[in-house]
Symmetry: C2
């Protein structure tokens, strides 16, 4: 008998998430049946999307949503022997039971890299960056790419891919330390949105030819400043809007440049390319092995600290892909 620890929703988040909105429950899991496996979480992911999606998909008492890298510790399914490493999305829990249909084996993983990357640059956030950039923005060498939330899990990969594709890459992030890091990993320029008085002018100075492509992770003020700097027929990939997730009122974007500059805006969710993830995985692995793509993780130790790690996404206290190590 194994004890499962899990976070369940007590109350939908309203404004900044509060500790009392979630509750940790401990429960004995039943013995596994034929065809089933028992898995134990090694690393769990916390991501901004969980904030809006929990409201849409969960009711009180439901387990908080999320991905993890886990290890099979008991098996009655020959496809998944004990020791198999998988990624899966049971939610915020230490242990779970699966019949094998909702887990994916972590295959061909580089030996020198931590499995946590299967949640980051070689997992969901890496796929988001790769397909959002290549399929929505379709970069051409010489174009200017602006990335908001550039030091985040997705933004850092997007910017480095932009450099691989020959673009001028400019980013925004929330601290001087993050700006320094962005320049280290190849961004041509970057600014701290928290200390910039006039982001529209700052972007104009850093993108003298205008923005051909904008990869948006934040929404709000920075997005409006970017929209005012787009080139004619500029392309915008809207990946997330973290600046508005805890806001009480609905966030908005400016309208006039969309018509006046003939902008093309597309919102997307990475799962539309699920069947192409193996292709993204191979590409990203190749870039990492060539040293063209570096990764940065912000690892929090201890399952009980999931909530703390989650909240840090919204204060910007994380630096790189936020991971919780059990």
């Amino acid at each position: 008998m194994v004890l499962q620890k899990r976070f369940v929703l007590e109350k939908h988040f309203d404004g900044m998430p509060k500790k009392s909105d979630l509750k940790i429950i401990e429960e004995k899991l039943p013995p596994i049946k034929d065809g089933e496996i028992l898995i134990q979480a090694l690393y769990l992911s916390v991501d901004p999307y969980m904030r809006p999606y929990s409201r849409r998909t969960l009711k009180k008492g439901d387990m908080m949503i999320g991905e993890q890298v886990a290890k099979v510790i008991e098996s009655k399914n020959t496809d998944y022997p004990i020791g198999t490493i998988v990624t899966c999305s049971p939610g915020w829990c230490t242990h779970s039971i699966s019949d094998g249909t909702d887990v994916r084996k972590v295959k061909d993983f580089p030996e020198n890299l931590p499995y946590s990357l299967a949640l980051g640059s070689l997992g969901m956030t890496g796929m988001t960056a790769y397909f959002g950039l290549t399929e929505i923005l379709k970069p051409k060498a010489g174009e200017t790419l602006f990335v908001s939330g550039a030091a985040g899990a997705v933004g850092g990969v997007v910017g480095q891919l932009g450099k691989i594709f020959g673009c001028r890459v400019v980013g925004s992030a929330g601290s001087e330390k993050k700006i320094k890091y962005l320049k280290e990993i190849g961004f041509d320029d970057a600014f701290n949105y928290k200390s910039t008085i006039d982001p529209q002018k700052t972007i104009k100075d850093m993108c003298p030819d205008g923005i051909h492509m904008y990869f948006d992770n934040v929404g709000g003020t920075i997005t409006n400043a970017a929209l005012m700097n787009m080139t004619e027929c500029g392309r915008i990939a809207m990946c997330g809007a973290i600046s508005g997730y805890n806001a009480k009122s609905q966030s908005t974007i400016v309208h006039p440049p969309i018509v006046g500059r003939q902008l093309k805006i597309e919102g997307f969710i990475v799962y539309r390319w699920t069947d192409r993830f193996p292709e993204g995985f191979e590409k990203l692995k190749e870039y990492i092995s060539q040293g063209k793509l570096t990764y940065k993780e912000h690892v929090t130790e201890g399952f009980d600290n999931m909530f703390k790690a989650f909240c840090e996404l919204f204060t910007g206290a994380n630096f790189g892909k936020a991971i919780v190590k059990v």
Copy 2:
């Protein structure tokens, strides 16, 4: 010697255009030189885009921008003998001189139709509707198309084309008379945005499968209500934003559904398809001759009434394509 009457900018519009923002000037035109033609306006167009574009492109004393259908009344250019009918964009004026490079002959025009249609359903507004719908929204039979400003010059054509392409078509307009008209020309449903208390709910009721395509002429409240009713991966063509043209603050649109529903939004200006206008002309002419596309004009008599006709666009007093007959 011919006297040209023209409207020039006295002061950029601020809020609703005021009569004193423009001034009528009379001036003698010089004799035409070899290669030139003298043309006389028959019909002039007033369109919402003139409001934002005048600010972008004109300075004090410049002639107000706009298209007209005109007749050659003197010619020293064998390509354009006296009596030739052309469309051109000299601005708001009764007469002008051209070297022939900036005028287009009105060719193959149906004998039973007024030349004013070369400014409407067979001209710029028709092209806007045709290419905006077919190139940006790419309608499929069975889909729901929502059109705002549906009784306007562009909207009325868009809706009827939507029916030709087999879509369910729903529209919004600003009076009961206009709603009645929309139903007469084939709209499946329509509502008066001025008397609708909850446009989001009204659209939901009229579009039970959600909106697959939204052709936006207005921006503002109706656009936000439409965005909240889009289907997953819905497409939006942003053609204009008349609701915001006279506003003191910049208009905005809601952000969350763009990411959450993976919407695809594209702003456009019809001139990107200039080289394909002959194709659009043939198609629209065919639909009109087949009785599948009707047209409605709102004709104001007298060049001096240009400003009045222009202002009526913003109060909704026009009903159909606004034309000034000289």
